[in-house]
């Protein structure tokens, strides 16, 4: 079956069965594939969702955003998004497998992070699993990115 989806601002035609999830049809990292780890997180209509828990067919007519939209392509090469730069500067990744998911989880938080307590931010970021960093630097990087973007 042919499916038309809007991904990162462009219309894409994909071949998918109803049982295929967004994690199956998008170039996201797939981790547990049953909603536990968050590695596949993408943004659908401005909210982060587990791509493995949403069937691709359910995303028709919605605006999907993946990690690929973050770094803007310029003639001088790829420029990192402030969130990506902060992850780099604060050592918020090691192996990098969870990173696209964390970036998509954190991106919608950046607008409201000023009003969030540390506890609230940590609760929000506890949605995704990272087995390298111990999370402290991820929390620091997200705060730093919000600062840099002000």
């Amino acid at each position: 079956m042919q499916l038309k989806l809007r991904v990162d601002g462009a219309e894409r035609t994909l071949e998918a069965e109803p049982r295929h999830t967004l994690a199956d049809v998008l170039p996201t990292h797939a981790g547990c594939e049953h909603g536990v780890c968050g590695a596949c997180t993408v943004i659908v209509d401005n909210e982060p969702v587990r791509a493995c828990l949403m069937f691709a067919i359910q995303a028709r007519g919605k605006e999907i955003r993946t990690v690929a939209s973050l770094a803007a392509c310029s003639t001088a090469g790829e420029a990192l998004h402030p969130l990506q730069r902060a992850f780099n500067e604060h050592h918020a990744l090691q192996c990098g497998y969870c990173t696209p998911g964390f970036l998509m989880l954190a991106l919608p938080l950046l607008d409201r992070i000023k009003k969030m307590t540390d506890e609230e931010l940590r609760e929000a970021l506890s949605a995704n699993l990272c087995r390298c960093t111990g999370y402290q630097n991820i929390v620091k990087a997200v705060r730093a990115a919000a600062e840099a973007m002000r």
Binding site: P18, R19, E33, H34, I57
Partner: protein, 257 residues
């Protein structure tokens, strides 16, 4: 693993949805709402429905309203709708307090209030809220609409009074008077994980104590020292769960003293 193949239906009205459900329920057809419990079960092949009737495009199920003393919650209202008080007064604050314990942020953007009730996991926070407050549940099928009292709705672990062809279209929670105080306490191994025990205490004209996560279904208990029959679980003994139950009830009571 990948979910097994199924036929997908996307109705846009309740009429259409219950028509499809009536047609496909005998052929293992099920409702898909937020999908945050059903899709993992499908990925693990614990559930292999032949037909899914996706109600996410049914606009009339997406709303919340107050009517004759009740907060009426439509089938597609998602958890995150309750993060800011959805209604003035103690009920809105109570729901905003409890919602923070439900799974995680990207789960709350998809999962639904009514879906939690229809799923009837013993560890569901919304099931505890419904049981404690005495919710009314509206089930609709091509045979008509009926109201089910919460005391009759939960019938065991992931088992409810809904017939296979019935769609839970709305849940009604009684609004709480201005002076009502409440306390909520939950114990889980990690933030966002399934509750091993949780208690909700609501003190208005009367005191209501609800206990969840401990027994097969959440329920209102008659007194703080009521006898409970904990779930059988190889990891957590009955005595451990009883002990947790005592602790969460005490903590919830203390919050509203």
């Amino acid at each position: 693993m990948k979910p097994a193949a199924f036929h997908y239906h996307a109705p846009s009205t309740v009429e259409e949805a219950i028509g499809l459900l009536s047609e496909y329920a005998p052929q293992d057809g099920h409702i898909l709402a937020g999908g945050q419990s059903l899709v993992p079960a499908m990925a693990l092949r614990l559930a292999t429905p032949a037909h899914l009737i996706d109600i996410n495009n049914v606009e009339e199920l997406g709303g919340v309203r107050t009517e004759s003393g009740y907060l009426c919650i439509g089938a597609c209202v998602r958890h995150n709708a309750f993060e800011q008080p959805i209604v003035e007064g103690p009920l809105g604050r109570l729901l905003a307090t409890v919602v923070r314990h439900i799974a995680h942020y990207p789960i709350r953007t998809r999962g639904t209030f009514c879906g939690s009730l229809a799923h009837a996991d013993p560890a569901s926070e919304w099931c505890l809220v419904a049981a404690t407050l005495g919710a009314e549940l509206l089930a609709q099928s091509t045979r008509g609409v009926r109201t089910i009292a919460v005391e009759q709705f939960f019938q065991g672990v992931m088992t409810t009074a809904l017939a296979p062809d019935e769609l839970l279209v709305e849940v009604r929670l009684p609004l709480l008077s201005k002076e009502t105080r409440f306390g909520f306490s939950e114990f889980s191994r990690r933030p966002g994980d399934f509750a091993l025990a949780m208690a909700l205490v609501v003190r208005g004209e009367e005191t209501r104590i609800g206990l969840g996560g401990v027994e097969a279904s959440p329920r209102r208990i008659a007194a703080a020292d009521a006898a409970v029959e904990p779930l059988r679980d190889p990891r957590y003994s009955a005595e451990y769960r009883r002990d947790l139950a005592r602790t969460v009830v005490r903590r919830a009571l203390e919050q509203c003293s």
